[in-house]
């Protein structure tokens, strides 16, 4: 058993590569969906995931074709992308006698048009109804059309008929229309030959079928392919109840008394008293349950042995098993890997225990199926033995459940399987034999039966279409001969779905990249301050978040005297934060960091009484709220009273909430704060200089003066703000508010682990304002003028409202500056709202800034709104460099903007830190959006409207589905799925050196999970890094982007993705 344990342990460890690694949904943080494959190059990783998880990792070809139609990809992009995939050898000539045609032409046809085989019935429809043998395919380009007609030299109908026969001749295929029933009529010689072949076929099939278990099948798949019955449908409802109950974070009031002993034990305890087993027809369930081992690991091993699976296949078997319900398995795995999460009740959660239960249940139901039909155990050897003696039965069952048989054969085969299951008398082999022969006869006779490829609706149809798109006529095809036709098809097959998806993605990315590079080059020098020593009116530090691009641009348009910066939204202060009303600390920093320090919000001196009252009232309000929302569903009689008391008010509230959401939302907010009483607060974050060392393992309260100075200096150096300081410097964290949104955390600050970043901004400002800190900084050569004041704030990305912290501490000399800034921020928020509205279908068509602002506020209060805001949707690029690089250009809220001054960091040490921190955050966001967009069914979580919050940790669809992970459809519907393009303002050598030093960046960049480009700090020059070829200097292919005065001139009236433009209003900065 010991050896088996080791195998199992390793197998379970291995599952983290394939299972989704999403945390409980309240702690949602964006991460690379294929994190488990990140050690591979992007394309290989996608292919490996497709292979193991069975999920496509590129957009569907039709969607790409749609982008092509809309002009988001152009022919030039395709041409370049085809050349970027070296193994395609797109430039090679096709066949000397076919004129100038190259392989590229075949590939292009395969990318742009659907050249896949079709069904025989469809072919008949195409010929008889759509007249495809008389008219050229409507999609064929005019020059191909004229080439074909010219070379054929006859009328269109004749040319096509000739082409069709030439295609069939070249491939040696006959086309005849036969009814399936006629096909069972074969000659005597045929049947004898078939009969002798049948047995051999059956044995081969048997070996293959059994071997698949533990490779890409579980017992469930085996049973499904033999009986057509899915045992998952039977076991799922009961299983999900147990799973939900074990992982529950406090939605249910009642849990298994055995829950603290782990899932397997709790489930086993429940099994013994479950009457349900007696009610379903499961022979032998009692014996199976009585024999269950006490430990989960033993149970897994025992059941894999009972199944008769060799140990070398255990790992793969468990992987397949866990992938049957990836969401639930993933949650077990996450909890297993995060024992410190604790959660409600601090229940032990082990993936092995879950797998044990799955195996037992699988066996139970498979046992029932096998007993009923064949009186055997669900054991691979026994199943093999049974079908070894009854080969014909295997053939019939396999054909019935895995192939598309014509109706009369389905009736025949289904009759037999029913008889075998229900009839009292044993079915003789002769009956199976007869059916198997009939099926075989049909298969041999069917034009598309035995070899799918070489058939009229297969390869002949493909060749027929391809020739049309290439403009090759029948006459020409005959001239070049059968070998050339085969060559054409071979070339076509190289462009399989995976390759095509990758080529399309490259083209898609290139199209946008060209536009970005064009704008950056054209913008060179425009965003620079004319007098670098002039002091800006105010400076604002925002989060690097892509949503802030719009805000910053609009702000600069309104008041060019402002300077803006971007930094990861925790502003270098990793802290365990405890707000005034919090009962526990919350880490506010990127997910990969564990804070060593703690800080808290406390009432200001002299307001203790107000605070005490506030606490009492708030506690009371929450108690009643809890009673209302939870008591009315949990309790029996008191809930009836609560309902009766609350209902009349509810009816009014509901009516207003539906009809005027923002009005009642704001009213409720006012009432709430009025009732709770607002307490003036301050932050407490100081620690004496002789405090013990703070570590993530032993966090300590507060920061010493030196630690504070380190943090302030760190951020200012990172963003390059070291000399010209404005009198007022605002630091703005962000977060989002919305109603009725289980995925709320996904809209908040990614650099604060999906929470509101306001406290970090507040702490930063408070530290930077301290005399002691400034003293230390001055000693280090960073002199912040006396007159400069830092002000922390929080920006709501949904309503665009800004809340300032510690405003009362602002020196009166700065009041006017703040009032001016407030006015600018409000105007910018309105203009920005207008820009956001263009992407909302339900927003007013051409709103004024004020209307637009009202609309976005209403969305955040509207509980019927499944899209309160668009989050990071459309994010596509990240700029690391001075604002002068991008200031004065419109980037459509699609770029992360990270401030960094290369001139102050010639060796790239600061850059290295930025890349290490922002790279994974940006890539995580971009890749989560990428995968949720390209395959929302498998990597995303489908539509929000059927979501059902489960156990306070996830969502299901309806009341009995897998746990859904990833992003909902509503968040990604306008996203353009491409990999993040990081443009760094620095020299390529510096970047190379950094990547060489940092394996994490090597993985991300070298493996192509993000794209990297470098903008030269002094010249209008951009280089692009192609992972396998190195840096290439970019050359513009189109003219410079258009110039407009304001952003609104560019975006008004458009609702789709817009290319960059230059905005003259914001360009010149502080002149």
């Amino acid at each position: 058993m010991g050896e088996g344990r080791a195998v199992l342990h390793e197998a379970v460890e291995h599952l983290e590569h394939v299972l989704p690694a999403q945390a409980p949904i309240r702690d949602f943080v964006h991460h690379n969906t294929l994190h488990g494959f990140q050690h591979l190059p992007f394309r290989q990783a996608v292919a490996a995931a497709a292979n193991r998880i069975g999920a496509r990792g590129f957009l569907q070809l039709d969607e790409f074709r749609g982008h092509f139609q809309r002009g988001r990809i152009d022919p030039e992009d395709l041409r370049t992308a085809l050349r970027a995939v070296a193994e395609l050898d797109a430039d090679a000539p096709l066949e000397p006698r076919l004129g100038k045609l190259r392989r590229e032409d075949v590939f292009r046809a395969a990318l742009l048009y659907d050249l896949n085989p079709i069904t025989p019935a469809r072919l008949r429809f195409e010929i008889e109804e759509l007249r495809c043998l008389e008219r050229l395919n409507a999609q064929v380009w005019p020059d191909s059309r004229s080439r074909l007609l010219k070379s054929a030299g006859v009328a269109e109908a004749d040319a096509l008929g000739d082409l069709w026969s030439a295609c069939r001749e070249a491939l040696g295929i006959e086309y005849k229309v036969l009814h399936p029933e006629e096909l069972t009529r074969v000659d005597a010689a045929g049947i004898c030959e078939a009969r002798s072949r049948l047995e051999a076929d059956a044995y081969g099939l048997l070996v293959r079928t059994i071997a698949r278990v533990g490779e890409d099948w579980t017992l469930r798949e085996l049973m499904r392919s033999l009986t057509g019955e899915d045992l998952m449908l039977h076991l799922q409802p009961s299983l999900l109840r147990h799973l939900g109950s074990h992982l529950d974070q406090g939605l249910a009031a009642w849990h298994s008394p055995e829950r603290p002993r782990g899932f397997y034990q709790a489930w086993r305890g429940s099994m013994a008293s479950d009457l349900g087993w007696g009610l379903i027809d499961l022979p032998g369930w009692r014996a199976i349950i009585a024999r269950l081992p006490t430990g989960a690991v033993d149970a897994v091993a025992a059941h894999l042995r009972l199944l008769g699976l060799p140990e070398r296949k255990w790992a793969d078997y468990l992987e397949r098993l866990s992938l049957e319900l990836p969401g639930w398995s993933g949650m077990f795995l996450w909890r297993d890997h995060h024992p410190a999460y604790g959660g409600f009740g601090d229940i032990p959660v082990g993936l092995t225990e879950y797998l044990a239960v799955r195996l037992v249940l699988e066996r139970l139901f498979a046992h029932g199926m096998c007993r009923k039909r064949w009186q055997i155990e669900p054991n691979l050897e026994e199943i093999r033995r049974h079908f070894h003696h009854h080969p014909a039965e295997l053939l019939v069952r396999h054909a019935l459940y895995n192939e598309r048989l014509p109706e009369h054969l389905v009736t025949l085969a289904r009759g037999l399987t029913q008889q075998a299951t229900f009839s009292i008398e044993q079915l003789t082999d002769a009956a199976w034999q007869e059916a198997a022969e009939r099926i075989e006869a049909w298969r041999c006779g069917a034009p598309d039966g035995r070899t799918q490829d070489a058939s009229a609706s297969g390869s002949a149809w493909q060749l027929f279409l391809l020739c049309q798109h290439l403009g090759v006529s029948g006459r020409e095809l005959r001239r070049v001969g059968a070998g050339a036709a085969e060559g054409l098809l071979r070339c076509l097959r190289r462009m399989d779905e995976e390759t095509a998806g990758y080529v399309w993605l490259l083209a898609y990315e290139r199209h946008y990249r060209e536009q970005i590079f064009g704008a950056l080059v054209a913008n060179h020098g425009r965003g620079r301050r004319t007098d670098p020593t002039a002091v800006p009116e105010a400076q604002l530090v925002f989060c690097m978040d892509d949503r802030e691009e719009g805000m910053r641009r609009n702000l600069e348009e309104i008041n060019p005297e402002l300077e803006t910066f971007g930094a990861a939204g925790f502003f270098g202060i990793a802290v365990n934060w405890r707000g005034l009303d919090d009962t526990a600390v919350t880490p506010l920093c990127p997910i990969v960091v564990t804070p060593s320090h703690e800080a808290r919000e406390v009432p200001q001196c002299g307001t203790e009484n107000v605070n005490a009252m506030h606490e009492r009232r708030r506690a009371m309000r929450l108690r009643w709220k809890q009673r209302l929302y939870e008591g009315t569903r949990r309790d029996l009689l008191s809930s009836a009273l609560m309902i009766a008391a609350a209902a009349p008010a509810t009816l009014v509230a509901l009516t207003v909430k539906v009809l005027a959401p923002s009005r009642i939302g704001r009213l409720a907010l006012r009432l709430r704060t009025g009732f709770d009483l607002a307490v003036p607060t301050r932050v407490e974050f100081e620690a004496p200089a002789d405090s013990p060392l703070a570590t993530p393992q032993q966090p300590r309260f507060g920061f010493t003066d030196v630690e504070q100075a380190d943090r302030v200096q760190g951020l200012l150096r990172t963003i390059g703000l070291t000399s010209v300081f404005a009198p007022l410097i605002a630091v703005l964290g962000h977060g989002s508010t919305s109603e009725n949104n289980p995925h709320m955390a996904a809209y908040d600050c990614g650099a604060c682990s999906g929470r509101h970043g306001g406290p970090n901004a507040r702490l930063f400002a408070a530290m930077a304002n301290r005399r002691e800190v400034r003293g230390i900084l001055a000693e280090r050569g960073l002199v912040i003028p006396e007159a400069t004041w830092f002000l922390g704030g929080h920006r709501n990305t949904s309503t665009s409202a800004v809340t300032w912290f510690d405003r009362d501490a602002l020196p009166p000399t700065h009041a006017a500056a703040l009032a001016k800034l407030d006015a600018d921020l409000l105007e910018a928020a309105r203009n920005h709202a207008r820009e956001r509205c263009r992407r909302f279908a339900s927003a007013p068509a051409a709103p004024t800034p004020l209307q637009a602002h009202r609309h976005v506020i209403e969305r955040s209060f509207d509980f019927s709104q499944a899209r309160p805001e668009l989050g990071h949707a459309t994010n596509a690029a990240a700029f690391i460099g001075r604002r002068s690089m991008s200031r004065g250009a419109f980037f459509d809220r699609r770029t992360f903007l990270i401030s960094y001054d290369p001139t102050q960091d010639p060796a790239g040490t600061v850059l290295e830190a930025i890349l290490l921190a922002a790279g994974p955050v940006g890539a995580g966001i971009s890749l989560e959006y990428y995968f949720s967009t390209v395959n929302n069914e498998r990597y995303g979580c489908g539509t929000k409207v059927v979501h059902n919050v489960t156990g306070l940790f996830g969502v299901m669809e309806g009341a009995g589905s897998d746990l859904r992970t990833g992003l909902p459809l509503q968040m990604i519907e306008i996203h353009e799925a491409m990999r993040l393009l990081i443009v760094v303002e620095h020299r390529t050598e510096v970047l190379d050196a950094i990547c060489a030093r940092q394996p994490a960046l090597q993985e991300l960049i070298g493996n192509g999970w993000v794209q990297l480009a470098a903008k030269h700090p002094d010249r209008a020059e951009v280089s692009f890094l192609e992972p396998d070829r190195g840096w290439a200097r970019w050359a513009p292919s189109a003219g410079p982007p258009p110039t407009v005065e304001r952003s609104a001139d560019w975006f008004m009236g458009h609702s789709d993705a817009l290319p960059p433009a230059l905005v003259s209003r914001s360009a010149w900065g502080c002149a």
Binding site: L279, H408, Q626, N740
Partner: protein, 511 residues
Amino acid sequence: MTFESQLALVPLAPLLAALAIAGTRLFRLSAGDAAERPTARMATGGVAVSLLLMLALDAAALLKGLPHRVRFGTWFASGRFELPISFALDPLSLSLGTLVALIAFLALRFSVNYMHREAGFHRFFFAMSLFSAGMLLIVLAGNAALCFVGWELAGVSSYLLIGYSQQSEIATDNAVRAFVTNRIGDAGFLVGLAAAFYWIGSLEWREIGAGAVRLETLPAGVMVLGFVIAASAKSAQVPFAPWVARALEGPTPSSAIFYGSLMVHAGVYLLIRLEPVLDHSLAVMGLVAGLGAATVLYGWLSGLVQTDVKSALVFATITQVGLMFLECGLGWFDLAAWHLALHASWRAYQFLLAPSYMHLVGGPAKPAPGWLSGRQWLYTAALQRFWLEAAGDWLLLRPTRGLGDDMNAFDRQVVDRVTGSAEPARHLPTGPERETEPEAVARGYGSAGRLLEIAAARLARFEEHLLLQGAGGRLARALVQAANYLRAVEALLERPRYLLLLVMATFAVIL
């Protein structure tokens, strides 16, 4: 045309809206985002008309009083039987009608944003309009037949919305299950209708109420039992309860108004409507109270272990509806009516807010009381929902399916062979066809000769097939086959389902 005759428009407006939506979709008048607005307008507009009319009627009833019943003419008449199109305007119908219209309107307005860009957008609004019409018809109908029409409309639209995710096997499966369970209730309703028609001669609620007093216990019991079964199935009472927990597959707003707020209360409304009848049938009252009490226990205990919001809410809902049944059973119909209205309002709100439940509650739920929490058996029972569904399958589904399979086998093996209309595949030989031209026995001339010739041929073939081929001949084979059939029938009779069938048949004959 009096003012109150506008009443007919109340259920008609949403119905017309539903038809209009279906029409525009059928002819594909528009597509994409642009198509949403007309659909949403038609649906909300239809219900808004109902709501405004109801409010106007309420005002009129308050100010000048309205007759309790409006009649628009005859639906159909035959002999002594007449079925009028009549609506009720008494306080019960008026208040519930207003509530239904209001909640339906709010849910539809909610859905305009919520369902934006859903693949099933139009389907959803079509079904919701249909449901609104059905629900309004249920509470406003003046007679049981019209009420039944509404009952069915609500049932069909519920089926359509549970199966909203057409691609999901679980969702469609559950839709069928809910639909089938509701058919049992419908059968009860039909029994009630037939009994009322047969023994009372009218389907008007008022006359059913008045007539029931004169009835004997048995007829009155049969009639009211039918209605009670219908009410229990629609309101998901034990033993029909399991369907409602499976009905949560649809979008949130539809779950809210079907299973949280409106349709699940239709059964309670029916009971309140039948108050005069129930009052005279103590035994049935006891039954209603018993069902209610059982449901309260079932819903509460199962509700305690639910780990997803929608299930937790739906169990809480049927617990409250169970309480309403209990109240009806105890004769407190007014209390039940108030309870219904208040509960419907609250639950609609709570269901619509279900997605944010996580953010609304501060911490974990209050744990189950100590005397309960340690009981493993009871916990398992609650978790498995007292095995009601499995028991139902065991009692009804499996025997029925078995019967079906046997019938199928009988058809194929006996009936088809006897009548000779087997499926074509059986006649297709796998080998080369045997040429079996019968030999000419005699040759005749003229029409009489021809007749003789045919007769001779027939006789010859008869002789050959039956007698000459001896043991391998037709007769022998037929006899062997008959013996086989008898043996099979005997074996079948040994199975419990046939025993059950036989017993049932015997009872049917005796009764």
